[in-house]
Amino acid sequence: MAEQMSDDDERQQSPPSDLDFTSNKARTCIVTGSVSGHTEFQSLYPDQVLENVLENVLHFLTSRRDRNSASLVCKSWYRVEALTRSELFIGNCYAVSPARATARFTRVRALHLKGRPRFADFNLMPPDWGAHFNPWVLAFAKACPWLEKVYLKRMSVTDDDLATLAESFLGFKELVLVCCDGFGTSGLAIFVSKCRQLKVLDLIESEVSDDETDWISCFPEGESHLESLIFDCVECPINFEALERLVARSPSLKKLRLNRYVSIGQLYRLMVQAPQLTHLGTGSFSPSEVAGQGDQEPDYVTAFAACKSLVCLSGFREIIPDYLPAIYPICANLTSLNFSYANITAEQLKPIISNCHKLQVFWVLDSICDEGLQAVAATCKELRELRVFPVDAREDSDGPVSEVGFQAISEGCRKLQSILYFCQRMTNAAVIAMSRNCPDLVVFRLCIMGRHRPDHVTGEPMDDGFGAIVMNCKKLTRLAVSGLLTDKAFDYIGRYGKLVRTLSVAFAGDSDMALKYVLEGCPQLQKLEIRDSPFGDAALCSGLHHYYNMRFLWMSSCRLTHQGCQQIARAMPRLVVEVIRSADEEEVYDRVQTLYMYRSLEGPRNDAPKFVTIL
């Protein structure tokens, strides 16, 4: 049976070389002719030595790209690489089956799985589409009992899955769930009670249902190994006394992110127990009840000052800005600050940010206005990543930030690598300026919230701005476009975006040419997500040469027909072509509402819900 390749994105598909295998076989054949097994052993020995050496060497290889290349050298290398791979990354859980993965990689310690496509986060797909963790946990429970770490993104995990995880892997250490759903506090309770070696439990932007179970109390008694506990997305009250006791008996705890049900007074008590924290999510950052006049407020400033290792601060879920000065002592050490839930003004921000000289990552709400961004630009010379979220995420709201703040950032923060910027108005000039001032940009995501909105000064499409970005930012790998865009913008992307791997398009382009430019021009393209753009079957066909190199293509509310998609499905047998209807829509309109297609070694999946048709 031909060996199948693991389906990581950077790989070209090509058969392994069989040469070495044949020569080994020949050698063995010659030897078995002789009488003594001793001779046979001798002739196998050099190969064995080689494999041992290889195994030792390959242990050091960590990059999965390098590993994928190494596994292609010959069967021997393929085998040894598979034995030495300890971290398995699968970018699309449907690209390869659990059985195949566990058959090839038997000694995996860490599993990293991604499920749903990103647009599912914005309600563009009915729930229960798939990406179930269940078959994976069952397969790995049987085949890889040494699994210690699971990282899941956009997968559905049930309470039973969490129970299986805790029960099947004795030394289980780390669970990270990002944008996951399907489980609740009762599943967490079972999980933490049975995972005695647990070091990391990180729940990030996940939906956790409130089963009214006190999961914090379920951590086993005695000293805990916990290094990281992140539960800021859990939207239910927790047993604070139990949490306090847990923190007190977790001497290795470095990362703690509280949810909004923890008041600032409670935060104080925790900080006093854990001054060794490096990452802190502050919870609500407001008192739990109206403080009486005579009550002594705890000395928050001293508590923060005691946390000398604190470098990453977040939370502030229901912030009372009066308490902000408490964080002054640590500003100078901060490398990461997340104010994206804090509705604060520029005036409230300035005293903080003016001390944050080392800041590299900053997430914030647009309530700080252009003025706040100017303050950031003035101080944060080391800034690498900026995300500006809207307080009011509607298309026609007033926009407190604009090209003014944007340009200020580009001028002040020259080392910028990643930006996500929501705004109501923008100009080409500002985007062009950023392309020149920040040549290190790797991620550029600009969301002009009004659809089809042009440059608000010149009235022109935003083509030139985005064109400048792909032209001048030579390291760019991720791009999200918005505003009024013609096919020209895509021509630029195809011409200059040679390293672009992820592209997000919404309400843009005029014709099929736009998509053609991209599919023909961007050889590194892995993930393409498009919505509400006028691209049809002809454009889809222009990518046939490239689809096997991509992780997925998403197109919703475009101009695709069933026939067009059917054509693709016929032409490319290793592609799974899913046509997704909205849940209540009955069958067969000719126009396809959503196309989601991805390469896979497994063919059509057997867990597709009714609203999905696989062509």
Binding site: D121, C236, P237, S286, I319, E395
Partner: protein, 279 residues
Amino acid sequence: MESGCSKKLLDLIPQEKKWGFIENQNGISHGSSEEKKLELKLGPPGEEDEPLVSFGYFSSMKSNAKQAHNKFPPAQEDHRGGAVLTASWAKNHHHQPKPPNCSQKRTAPGPVVGWPPIRSFRKNLATTSKLASESPTSLPHKVAIERKPAAPETRGKGLFVKINMDGVPIGRKVDLKSYDSYEKLSTAVDELFRGLLAAQRDPSADGPKQEEEKVITGVLDGNGEYTLVYEDNEGDRMLVGDVPWHMFVSTVKRLRVLKSSELSVINLGSSKKGKMVQN
């Protein structure tokens, strides 16, 4: 035909009106140089660098994609040459400010699903955090903080609600559409939890059940060790069994199986006192 059309247009359109951007009413400011760029020309569009901007737009309000599209491609072809790619960016380089309608959907007045692309948990900041920052004295009490309501899911044609039982950490889900009476629901509760409850009582029994499982009965009439309650769409806790079945199904949000001895402690729906039959 075309020139005839444009004469009519000239008559209709006042000079100072910014007619090229009627559909974008959102605070776009234009200088007067803007208007110069938008001057009407009498030639057919598509053959110059600056064709009539709104020609496609006005020639038929229901301008379908094909028609508008045919007018503009020649301009695109010109742009494919090398000229565009020199460094003279915004100033010299006049695009036709195409009516965005060209081959795209009109900017609809109503909100669009999933746009702007913000995840739902980031969306309610305008209200909740504003309250916090504006009024330091009237603080949101933790007790009153709205929890995400446990809404029933409809998978296909089922109606799944969560059900938890006292003493059992793992919750389950039941599909209410597959029952048509309280009796059937009660049986289902027994089936779902009997094994789990036994396992809780004797955690070492993970093989064949050593201790016989106790059947869970009497959840509806108050006679059993456990009682079935539910949370309705107003957030009130109610005893199960008092309203007609179909009414129950339409208002239930989640279920709980509570120890009957705990019932008096629990604050059942206060507006429906008549239904609080304590045992």
